[in-house]
């Protein structure tokens, strides 16, 4: 989208509480998140005429959310998908607007990810019938996301000498960020040793290498830069986007190695090419942390360090608030709440505005202390460019670059 660079923006963001007991339907939560994003943008319901969502048979649909808010839709689409959908759908929203189908799109993900459909496969889904492509792995006790991804990290350890201790720094860093995020579900500082001493789930994954499971809805609103000019917030301009870019043999990516390579290998040229920047220009990353190591794999594959040096990169302090390029400043999926990627885009939009919701008294007006000690500030000082690295699995990923 070289010719569309900076022509579309995210103008509104919103979310519900992150909890393990929403006590509500996904529809109720989606309505709240979309409403908050509309109000955040300074839009009226009648200004929103497009709606998109993603889900895995575990959520409500756009046509059941718009009407609650009095929205008449000129376009809606609900797609199947989890991680990596956020960035992909932002790109599709741009396409829908560019095609003249609608003018402003609200994009949501609503999930009772703890009380109804647990993503790890625990509960009702654990005993689901196995057929088709699943026959190649599920009969061998390989069903959950952790089980699906673990062999990739194990091979990365073999290929590059990456260690459990190195990726445990991701949890440590994100936990420190979450402590400065009043809405984070888990506001507790966790150390590298805590991770290493937590029980094994699926070697090489410890319990604390795995993200949270939570109930929540999240929303972002996409519109044209032209429309964004008279809205309430400073727009987050979209410089580049890549959606669900995949490795060869995405059906069974084990066939096409190296399996320690992930989809960012193919996505990076698309998204950096559109944006006309390099990793060095990025101030904040939001690298999908379904697990500690997914953050690491993507950061190295997109070129924030050399291939194979991701373990060093994530344990060097770079990814922490106060470091050169903080990652998931909200605490991410490991500590804030599990949103299938949306909240990481929400956080980067707020960072670009300069108004992240920490405890600084002037946070809403962009007055921050930049004191990153526990319970204090989490606003990065004057960030210009952020990047989101969305992850569906080792073989599929998405990316989004935004600027202020």
């Amino acid at each position: 989208m070289a010719n569309l660079k900076d022509k579309y923006c995210i103008v509104g963001v919103g979310e519900t509480e992150f909890s393990k007991n929403s006590g509500r339907t996904t529809k109720a939560m989606a309505v709240e998140a979309v409403r908050k994003a509309i109000l955040d943008a300074g839009l009226k319901a009648s200004d929103v005429d497009g709606m998109m969502s993603y889900q895995n048979g575990d959520s409500t649909f756009a046509p059941f959310v718009g009407p609650d808010l009095g929205i008449r839709l000129n376009f809606y689409m609900d797609v199947v998908g989890g991680g990596s959908s956020t960035e992909a759908l932002i790109g599709l929203a741009i396409g829908a607007i560019e095609a003249g189908m609608c003018k402003t799109v609200a994009l949501f993900r609503s999930m009772n990810g703890y009380t109804e459909f647990r993503i790890g496969g625990t509960g009702a889904r654990s005993a689901a019938p196995v057929r088709g492509a699943d026959l190649a792995q599920v009969p061998f006790g390989m069903r959950s996301a952790g089980q699906n991804f673990a062999m990739t990290f194990m091979r990365h350890m073999y290929d590059y000498g990456t260690t459990s201790e190195q990726v445990a720094h991701v949890k440590q860093a994100h936990s420190r960020h979450a402590v400065n995020n009043p809405k984070a579900f888990e506001k507790k500082r966790v150390t590298v040793q805590d991770v290493l001493h937590s029980r094994w789930i699926c070697e090489p994954l410890h319990l604390l290498d795995c993200c949270l499971e939570t109930d929540n809805a999240t929303c972002v609103i996409v519109t044209s830069a032209e429309r964004a000019r008279d809205l309430k917030q400073r727009p987050a301009y979209i410089m580049g986007v890549a959606g669900r870019v995949s490795k060869p043999r995405v059906d069974y990516h084990w066939a096409h190695g190296p399996i320690s390579r992930v989809a960012g290998y193919y996505a990076k040229d698309i998204v950096f090419g559109q944006a006309g920047i390099t990793p060095e220009d990025v101030d904040i990353t939001g690298s999908y942390d379904a697990f500690t190591f997914t953050t690491m794999l993507q950061l190295e594959e997109y070129g924030f360090c050399k291939k194979g040096e991701g373990g060093h990169y994530v344990s060097s302090g770079i990814i922490e608030l106060g470091g050169k390029r903080p990652n998931n400043t909200s605490g991410g999926h490991l500590c804030e709440g599990y949103t299938h990627g949306m909240a990481m885009v929400v956080e980067n939009v707020r960072q670009l505005r300069g108004t992240v919701d920490d405890t600084c008294p002037g946070a809403a007006e962009g007055k921050h202390t930049y004191d990153y000690s526990p319970g204090k500030c989490r606003q990065v000082k004057d960030p210009e460019i952020t990047m989101n690295l969305g992850w569906a699995m080792p073989a599929t990923g998405s990316a989004l670059i935004m600027r202020k």
């Binding site: 496969g121 005993a127 026959l135 006790g141 390989m142 069903r143 090489p204 319990l207 060869p248």
Partner: protein
């Protein structure tokens, strides 16, 4: 084909029109590990794709493999998700690179097959014996008259390349 076949609490469903899995499992029940081989370019693929991913040809034959390979990666499940695996933890799942067609047609590509690391009698192997680089051979777990699962057991052959295991 009678179905579903139940294994460790899972209903494995292979409809008659799913000929790629149906025939794969029938061969496995005859204790043959087979993959589809392209009639045009001769390359083999797993699982049984309908067309050749290298030349798009639709012609294929079943080709039996030696069943020998090397552990390319593995994982050890301590917290089982599926109810039928709860009493089996810790168990090891392996990604086996088969001897045939290694690094072909590009260095990154190989025939790699997922299974459990089992003892020759099909009980789960001691997970401490799992390591990348260890040699394995296929063994077949009979589930029904028309269906068996390929599994892998340590073959005792000399290791291939660098052997490594987590914490080892």
């Amino acid at each position: 084909m009678p179905q579903p076949v139940t294994y460790r609490g899972m209903a494995l469903i292979v409809p008659d029109n799913d000929t790629e899995w149906k025939e794969f499992y029938e061969h496995a029940r005859a204790h043959k590990l087979v993959v589809r081989k392209c009639k045009a370019c001769g390359l083999m693929r797993y699982p049984a794709l309908h067309a050749c991913p290298w030349c798009m040809d639709l012609g294929w034959t079943w080709q039996e493999l030696s069943g020998k390979g090397t552990i390319y990666s593995y994982e050890i499940v301590h917290h089982a998700i599926q109810p039928g695996f709860k009493d089996a933890t810790p168990y090891c799942t392996v990604l086996v690179e088969m001897d045939e067609q290694r690094g072909t047609p590009t260095p990154d590509e190989s025939l790699r097959i997922i299974g459990n690391l089992v003892k020759p009698d099909l009980g789960f192997e001691d997970v401490a014996k799992a390591a990348i680089g260890k040699r394995v051979r296929v063994v077949f777990q009979d589930l029904a008259d028309h269906m068996a699962l390929p599994q892998f057991t340590l073959s005792g052959e000399p290791d291939q390349g660098r052997v490594w295991r987590l914490g080892g």
